[in-house]
């Protein structure tokens, strides 16, 4: 289901050729745009085709596609060094959503507010639009969407007459019931990401929201409700203590946890939508046995809320071809291009309407449910110093999980460090 049949592709490209924006008037001088982006994985990368199509519609404009280093950390480092140090300018940049406010604050991005037709962002998920705007201006276009989900083994739950859990207490009870019934020492309960890295903070944020609190308060303070935050940290630690989650979640990232669940060795998994396609591969041991549900809620939460991730497209402020660059951004973020990306490599769109698109739903039956969960999801704190917050919190939360620190000490230390770092910034 990751690939489209060639017939469908043909129909798609015809659709792309006919729809979308009008070709720009031909230019005297040929323009070359440099597009920096992460490598798109998958057997059928639709990006080159999309770029050739853009060129065909904009005579005189060529797009040079250059891929970034492998990890997001290295990509961030690459951008930071080149943009701050005045290295060679790029024209269009693929950005992790959490960088947009930071890059905007640093004045590395072209202000797109006047260049975008009003209401152009309205078609995208609110959780994608929020990080695209900073200080009341528009700095990027949403391109690819990600959202935290709860995966569950539908076959196992059905065997015990259970539905997906709405609260974490129910999840723990279900794990205990199923583990007792299955008597399989190799069957783990709930897998999530507990390694000391960005993914751990995503899991923490989802826990805080599920307990009716947040990481950054309205007044900018860290952990505005420390008691509820402590509850979440205590809960995560107890998951490991009581065997609901295996001890190795403290070293688990998305892939490690995804593989264990995909091998049929766990009942629940918190992960992103990409995992579903891998669970449904023909050789997958859990094919046809996996369900998707919203993340559960804690005692004080109204409902569980997934964190969003994904990529935005921005324009380097130093570009010499702003109109062409903006045209490329708008083209790639258009419904037709997002549909091609979703069909080709299963990178989910940021446009809400595509989650009801008949072609896409046929090849990706879970899309409507993922769309509903994304509509209720929240972005990570939209601030230029998000990475600083995350980097400060990672060791503290990790220390709580492995019982080196109490939740109270960890919260206090994180607050101390952040207040030093932000002394004359906030």
């Amino acid at each position: 289901m990751r690939h489209l049949s060639s017939a469908a592709l043909l129909v798609l490209s015809a659709h792309l050729l006919l729809g979308g924006c009008q070709p720009a008037p031909p230019r005297a001088e040929p323009v070359t745009l440099v597009f920096k982006h992460a490598r798109i994985l998958g057997p059928s990368d639709p990006l080159p085709g999309l770029l050739r199509e853009f060129e065909a519609r904009h005579p005189g404009v060529r797009v040079k596609s250059e891929s970034l280093p492998w990890s997001t950390d290295e990509q961030h480092q690459f951008y930071a060094i080149n943009l701050e140090g005045g290295g060679p300018a790029f024209d269009v940049m693929m950005l992790d959503v959490i960088w947009v406010p930071e890059f905007a604050q640093a004045r590395w991005l072209l202000d797109l507010t006047e260049l975008m037709p009003r209401g152009e962002l309205a078609a995208h998920f609110p959780a994608a639009v929020e990080p695209a705007t900073w200080g009341g201006r528009v700095w990027a276009m949403p391109w690819i969407m990600n959202v935290g989900l709860l995966y569950y083994r539908a076959d196992l739950l059905a065997r015990y007459g259970l539905g997906p859990p709405e609260t974490y207490e129910a999840l723990v009870a279900q794990v205990k019931q199923i583990q007792a019934g299955q008597r399989d020492a190799r069957l783990d309960g709930f897998l999530w990401q507990g390694k000391q890295y960005e993914g751990l903070i995503v899991n923490l944020l989802e826990g805080l929201w599920a307990n009716g609190t947040r990481l950054v308060g309205e007044d900018g303070s860290l952990f505005p409700d420390p008691a509820r935050a402590e509850d979440v940290l205590v809960f995560l630690r107890r998951l490991i203590d009581t065997g609901v989650s295996p001890p190795w979640v403290t070293a688990a990232d998305e892939e490690l946890s995804r593989r264990a669940f995909g091998d049929g060795r766990a009942i629940f998994l918190r992960n992103w939508p990409y995992a579903m396609d891998l669970f449904e591969l023909p050789e997958s041991p859990v094919r046809g046995k996996v369900g998707i549900a919203p993340l559960p809620r804690h005692a004080h939460g109204a409902r569980g809320t997934g964190a969003t991730g994904g990529a935005h497209l921005g324009v380097d402020r130093r570009t010499r071809h702003p109109e062409a660059a903006v045209a490329l951004v708008r083209f790639l973020a258009s419904a037709a291009a997002q549909k091609t990306m979703a069909a080709g490599v299963a990178l989910n769109p940021t446009r809400t309407a595509l989650y009801r698109d008949a072609d896409l739903v046929r090849s990706h039956p879970h899309l409507p449910l993922i769309g509903a969960l994304t509509a209720a999801a929240r972005p990570r704190p939209v601030t230029p110093y998000y990475l600083m917050l995350s980097s400060t919190l990672q060791p503290e939360v990790s220390a709580v999980l492995v019982k080196v620190k109490t939740p109270g000490d960890a919260i206090a230390q994180a607050r101390r460090t952040v207040s030093y770092m932000l002394r004359d910034v906030r």
Partner: protein, 290 residues
């Protein structure tokens, strides 16, 4: 100095000038710049850039994360370098005493050394996998949480580093062993020396200089260790594998706190320089360095 000598000297300096200039540009200029940055509060994202004197160092002196990173760096360096030297010598001795299979052994050693460290790190991620990893299988099917347990993560990284760099020490020592004339051992044999006596009286004294060089290289390398921990554990759990360079990287490139990160960089620099200075003094005493 005769006029001729003076002219020669001038010409020599002239020829050296480009190299010296390049060195100055590549090492002195960035070092001075980093030193200067470390006295600033500089956050380009917010347009903050002002001189704060030793404020960054003051904060760092009371920063548990820095002290932890310093401890991790020293523990990692001490343990991995000691193990690498010990194993390296043993491997070199085994190689020189063995004819059969030597070429294969050398090729395997080179392979371990030639792998990019990120590849090594990924390899060990699998070896340490809690349920599917070879390491736990070899330990009798245990499920030790190598990379997620605060007591096991650092030893796990040290083992990976030892695996990766023992070949360096082994090859260096092996090359030295090849140059020891066989006549020395034959003479010792004639004098009735046993194997142990030959090791202690001939082999080790002749290996000593090479070992000191290996020690210098490996220590300076280990003090700057970065990629293994960055890929395998991200510095966790609970920062038990976060070295000074990982902390510096996070402050510099993730949080873009250039002044604060530079201060950590200066601390690493001072640590490396102090170690190099001590070793060079020892080497000079051995008559090995100018």
């Amino acid at each position: 100095m005769t006029p001729r000598q003076r002219a020669d000297r001038r010409a020599g300096l002239l020829f050296l000038a480009p190299a010296l200039l390049a060195l100055a540009l590549l090492t002195v200029y960035p070092s001075v710049w980093v030193l200067w940055l470390s006295l600033e509060r500089r956050i380009p994202v917010f347009g903050v850039a002002r001189f704060v004197g030793l404020s960054n160092y003051e904060f760092l002196a009371g920063d548990p994360r820095l002290w932890n990173a310093a401890w991790v760096t020293l523990a990692f360096t001490g343990a991995s370098v000691a193990l690498e030297l010990l194993l390296g010598v043993l491997v070199a001795l085994a190689l020189s005493g063995q004819r059969a299979g030597r070429r294969t052994a050398l090729a395997l050693l080179l392979l371990a050394w030639a792998l990019p460290s990120v590849v090594t790190a990924k390899l060990f991620e699998w070896l340490y996998h809690p349920s599917a990893g070879l390491v736990n299988f070899l330990l009798g099917g245990r499920s030790l949480n190598w990379l997620g347990d605060p007591h096991l993560a650092l030893p796990g990284l040290i083992l990976a580093d030892v695996w990766r760099t023992t070949p360096f020490v082994a090859l260096l020592c092996y090359a030295r062993l090849l140059t020891i004339p066989g006549a020395l051992y034959e003479a010792a044999q004639v004098d009735g020396a046993g194997r142990l006596a030959m090791l202690g009286r001939i082999t080790f004294p002749l290996l000593r200089r090479v070992l000191l060089i290996a020690l210098l290289f490996r220590t300076l390398d280990a003090l700057r260790a970065f990629d293994l921990m960055f890929v395998l554990t991200g510095g966790g759990p609970a920062s038990t594998t976060e070295t000074l360079t990982v902390y510096a990287y996070r402050s510099l490139f993730q949080t873009l706190q250039l002044g604060f990160g530079s201060a950590i960089g200066v601390i690493v620099f001072a640590l490396v320089m102090a170690t190099a200075w001590i070793y060079l003094r020892v080497l000079r005493r051995q008559g090995m360095a100018a």
